[in-house]
């Protein structure tokens, strides 16, 4: 792991990336590079699209209405990261932004909002979630931007669940002895982490979850946490025990 360094600009662009191609930027990105960062022709930056790895690019032209990047050489191959779905009850705006950024830094593959009984029902802004995921990926050099799934009810998510994917959920009623020992028992394969709303799961939801053999309740210590803290804590333990934080 590295703490983020601020030395090189990284930009997500939708276009395919390959040596020698040039990419015309959308106005907003052009504005950012030329007016906010004040990059001039010849300036180097890094670009990625979530598919083709990371590439060095240079600003080859910058006029009022068109900014073009020349894609030069690949600096990193595309990486996949761990197969972790992250299911979460949407939080209020700023904490949701934060949670999405953190889940992206934790390398999750999919962001899956689930509506639970105690979810403070707010319109879930999928575009805003994707924008936050992209921003976190740009800042932290994450080459795989998480997919943002449309919100569904917890019921619906469970009804369609693939039992091959362990569902690790953080439950305030869970009293298992040891989070690491708990995760070591999870069979190898795809996993999902579920964080409930502030206020927790209802008893009905808890029983519906625990009725499934693929569900693993994860204890996170004796203290109460905000939901966004529990998210980073759970994803940390899952990465450390089941994910890609071990170089074995």
């Amino acid at each position: 792991m590295a703490i983020r360094d601020l030395t090189s600009e990284r930009l997500f662009i939708a276009d395919d990336l390959a040596a020698g191609v040039s990419v015309e930027l959308a106005q907003q990105q052009a504005h950012y590079l030329t007016n906010v960062l004040r990059l001039r022709p010849g300036a180097k930056l890094l670009v990625f699209n979530g598919r083709d790895g990371e590439w060095q690019a240079s600003l080859i032209e910058s006029r009022k209405r068109t900014t073009v990047l020349g894609i030069e050489e690949q600096t990193r191959p595309q990486e996949q990261g761990p197969d972790i779905d992250y299911l979460f009850a949407p939080l209020k705006r700023s904490r949701l932004d934060y949670m999405v950024q953190k889940a992206t830094e934790m390398g999750v593959r999919r962001l899956r909002p689930v509506i639970t009984e105690r979810t403070i029902a707010e319109r879930v802004n999928s575009e805003r979630m994707l924008a936050n995921a992209i921003e976190a990926a740009e800042q932290c050099g994450i080459l795989r931007v998480p997919e943002v799934e449309p919100p569904v009810s917890l019921e619906t998510a469970l009804a369609a669940w693939d039992p091959a994917r362990a569902l690790i959920y953080c439950d305030e009623h869970e009293t298992a002895a040891d989070p690491i020992a708990t995760l070591r028992k999870v069979p190898a394969g795809p996993v999902a982490v579920l964080i409930g709303p502030e206020g927790g799961f209802s008893n009905g939801e808890r029983s519906r979850l625990l009725a499934n053999s693929y569900v693993v309740p994860l204890p996170l210590g004796p203290r109460i946490m905000r939901a966004d803290t529990a998210a980073v804590a759970a994803l940390t333990l899952v990465n450390a025990v089941l994910g890609d934080w071990q170089r074995l």
Copy 2:
């Protein structure tokens, strides 16, 4: 662990707490209870002072200038939590607020800002840090509010270090295989977690750290993280392996 529930108000007050005493609140807290929460005489809430545990109190009087709480019965004894010092290079304001709140939820004992070579030097507002720690403690029912130490240079902190306290630091250059195995080697006893600035430690700082037998470099996976994310991740692993997240 429990996700925060929103059912009971918790208030930090400086006064000693015991059954039968009454406490006159400062104006700001009085305003919060009577005008923001609109509590009326007889309303119940929870109070704590970081020393005497958690107590049920009721609003026994509320006039324009004086709001008095009657302390009734203890709801939880004082808890100590793990002996974890948290050392961190101060971040910009909102991320520092967040980092302090998260460290409090993680149950750290002391908040110790350290100035490193690449710290984006800003005035460190200790009062603001304490206010954020208290807010997090109120929201999450943490009965021990972390102490806030004055900022010192990393040099000074190391010069005065008690070698009995392991110093676990997160280093972008660390390539140890497994964070959990790394922490399992740390001898039982007090610990500290050190998170560097965005931009990381200098080579000089790194050598000065590694020259000490009490220093344990902790790897946090292959991805870059914001410093405040690394803080929650490192404190999670330390709690899970060395702290009080295991009920054995």
